[in-house]
């Protein structure tokens, strides 16, 4: 199977090559604009950042210091905490988006009143600026004057200091992230649900299946592609998340809700340009280490199907 594919790939490659020799469908200079943009905006900065990550850099002068920045970065006391927080944040937001997104999609594809309106309402937060959402929730989550705790106080519950209690800060931000991002997951699931052929449900009805059985045996398994998409999208989003955390807590109180991106940003903010560049190289390698095996795994699944 896989041999055949390789062989096919090689043949296809040869055909393309032959065509190129005869004269490609586009002249070479046609690729130039894209090549320049890629070279200037992506390739050069990548090489430059590899160099600057090995220096102590003030933006005016750079002293070569070998791997000291990387050693320093891995000794950074907040880095381990940042790594753990990044993983927690990615997993929590991704997991909640899967569960809540699927439930909402089930609800919004059933025959309920005002379906179009409700769909719009669920999707609306996706369209709002992240920083705006962050600032709004900072006000809502204020420990004494915020609307959330004032509402809780009315029913006699003393709400926690959502963003300033180190035990809750990261999770509070994660919840806001879910509120903001769950609309996208819902839309993906809705597309998945409506594309399930009705034949399965008819057959199940003839067999006398309950609604619960319908869900477990038909909807859930057939939604697997949608689930994979949601997990990948939200996991990547969660791992590189920065804007919402920065807008809401700036990694605080102290360092308790720092993620890798905010640790790197703080080094940059402090004027440790070489160190923060080294941090970005580390982040690049880290994301590659997670995403490359993941996408290979998913591609293999595609082929087998």
């Amino acid at each position: 199977m896989s041999d055949a594919i390789t062989a096919g790939g090689v043949t296809a490659g040869r055909t393309v090559a032959r065509r190129a020799r005869r004269g490609a469908s586009y002249p070479n200079w046609f690729y130039l604009p894209a090549a320049i943009v890629f070279g200037v905006l992506f390739l050069l900065p990548t090489i430059a950042s590899l160099f600057f990550s090995l220096t102590r850099w003030t933006l005016f002068e750079a002293n070569f210091i070998g791997l000291a920045n990387f050693i320093q970065f891995f000794r950074e006391p907040f880095l381990v905490q940042g790594l753990i927080n990044t993983l927690i944040y990615g997993v929590v937001t991704s997991g909640l988006k899967v569960i809540i997104g699927m439930l909402l999609a089930l609800l919004l594809t059933s025959d309920i009143i005002g379906r179009g309106y409700l769909r719009a309402v669920v999707f609306f937060p996706v369209l709002v600026s992240t920083v705006g959402v962050g600032i709004a929730f900072v006000a809502l989550m204020h420990p004494t004057q915020g609307m959330i705790n004032e509402t809780l106080a009315m029913v006699g519950i003393k709400g926690p200091a959502w963003l300033t209690d180190p035990r809750f800060a990261l999770y509070s931000v994660a919840l806001v992230d879910v509120w903001k991002g769950v609309g996208l997951a819902t839309v993906i699931y809705m597309a998945g649900i409506v594309s399930i052929p009705q034949d399965y449900f008819e057959a199940a009805r003839i067999d006398g299946a309950t609604a619960w059985q319908n869900f477990w045996a038909i909807t859930l398994p057939l939604l697997k592609p949608a689930t994979v998409t949601v997990i990948i999208l939200s996991l990547i989003g969660g791992l590189r998340s920065f804007d919402l955390i920065w807008a809401m807590t700036r990694g605080g109180p102290g360092f308790t809700s720092d993620v890798i991106a905010s640790v790197i940003y703080k080094q940059y903010q402090a004027g440790f340009y070489g160190l923060s560049t080294a941090g970005n190289v580390v982040l690049f390698v880290l994301v590659a280490l997670i995403i490359v095996p993941l996408s290979m795994f998913l591609n293999r699944n595609e082929v087998e199907r």
Binding site: H142, P143, G271
Partner: protein
């Protein structure tokens, strides 16, 4: 007809004016951009300086831009300077934060300007870069770092101003027992969390006179110098004793000013420039607010940690260096002090020669001045004695003050942070 006459007259007038500014084709008015931090007290100063300067110089307009304070502001200043995007004139801290800016490459040298004669000599070293040249002029009055307190609460509970840390904690205990907030913290603005550490430096220097020099050379550490670690311990103590306001994690500087002025809280560790904010927004409460230095262990050695004010600098990339110097010269004159006093009232002694304080200063300023009037009762904050200030201090002190990290652990962490900064500055003895 009347209209066109007026216009012609105006044109003639502007043409006459512009003669003074060089070539005949020069613009009628020059606009100077002026970047300041968004602290309301400081913005009020800038507005007053702008108004007074523009009235005197009709050909120059000042355009104020604001930026956040704290680490976020440091970042904006550094990046804009490094990329040549800085405003013509800007306000920024003197001392170690200034040292991190690479002034010789980014700012105009003001050493040989005639207005230097107006400035008190003690200010000049804190805006002098490694090349020995002077780059800034003082924009505010000198400040003390200590504790603003509510005199009404003190009178009500019969308390006296503490001379030792133990007395301070005993006062706090009584205030707490009376059902009031003893210590106000405002970690929503993280920079406000540093006062117990930075404002304790008089006590550090009293115990270890060589600390500043040894610290700069990399020989003295916070974690291994008990007197230096005491500042972190103080932040931990007030948290552990439950003295803080309920919303200490999210309250902002403006909340702290309100609380200490109106008696919602008794003590607010802060720099005395905050008195200007009280004068502006809570003028009727101004007589209720007093000030004392952060107490140490020994009542006989009670003194104040002093802050040099922020300075005004001119960016090297300015297109209007002459006008910018004119503005800076105005700031460094008695007219500049008058504009400041009119905006915020008197907040402390000025560093411009000939600037007198009015006779009726606010109560807190009256508490502040005696420290300056006697020798040996003040010490400059560490950031004016050493070029090194670790950039993560405000996060570390938030952690200590919120009970997340112990004082000992925090001091050790800050030593690491200081090391990074020293290496970035390329200081000897840190590699």
């Amino acid at each position: 007809m009347a209209l066109s006459m007026t216009r012609r007259a105006l044109l003639a007038a502007t043409a006459l004016l512009s003669v003074g500014f060089g070539p005949a084709f020069a613009q009628d008015t020059v606009t100077l951009t002026y970047l300041v931090d968004d602290n309301p007290t400081n913005v009020a100063t800038s507005e007053a300086l702008k108004a007074a300067f523009e009235a005197e110089n009709p050909g120059i307009k000042i355009e104020i831009e604001t930026r956040p304070g704290g680490g976020e502001g440091d970042n904006i200043i550094k990046t804009r300077l490094a990329t040549g995007e800085m405003t013509d004139v800007f306000r920024y801290n003197a001392g170690s934060l200034f040292q991190a800016l690479n002034a010789p490459q980014t700012m105009l040298d003001l050493t040989d300007e005639p207005f230097q004669a107006n400035i008190i000599d003690s200010f000049k070293p804190v805006v002098t870069a490694t090349d020995g040249r002077i780059y800034g002029v003082p924009e505010e009055a000198a400040m003390g770092g200590g504790i603003l307190y509510n005199k009404k609460i003190y009178a009500e509970l019969g308390l006296t101003v503490p001379k030792t840390w133990a007395e301070f904690m005993a006062n706090n205990e009584k205030i707490k027992a009376a059902g009031k907030t003893a210590v106000i913290q405002t970690f929503g603005d993280t920079w406000t969390s540093q006062l117990f550490v930075l404002g304790d430096f008089f006590n550090v220097q009293a115990a270890v006179p060589t600390f500043a020099a040894d610290y700069t050379a990399g020989k003295a550490k916070y974690a291994s110098t008990p007197a230096a670690m005491a500042g972190f311990q103080k932040g931990e103590d007030v948290f552990k004793a439950g003295f803080l306001n309920e919303d200490f994690g999210s309250a902002l500087f403006a909340d702290g000013v309100r609380m200490v002025a109106t008696g919602e809280g008794a003590h607010y560790p802060m720099l005395t420039f905050a008195i200007g904010g009280i004068a502006q927004d809570y003028a009727e409460n101004l007589p209720d607010v007093g000030f004392f230095a952060i107490p140490g262990d020994d009542a006989a050695k009670n003194g104040l940690t002093v802050w040099m004010p922020a300075a005004t600098y001119i960016s090297k990339t300015t297109a209007h260096p002459e006008e910018a110097k004119k503005f800076v010269a105005f700031i460094a004159s008695t007219k500049g002090c008058d504009a400041r006093s009119s905006a915020n009232g008197a907040t402390g002694p000025y560093l411009i020669k000939g600037c007198e304080l009015p006779a009726d200063v606010p109560a807190a300023v009256a508490d502040l001045l005696p420290y300056f009037q006697q020798d040996g009762l003040t010490a400059p904050a560490l950031e004016f004695l050493s070029p090194i200030k670790g950039p993560a201090l405000e996060q570390i002190t938030v952690e200590v003050g919120s009970g997340i990290r112990s004082a000992a652990d925090a001091a050790a962490l800050y030593d690491e942070d200081v090391k990074k900064q020293a290496q970035q500055l390329g200081l000897p003895g840190w590699d």
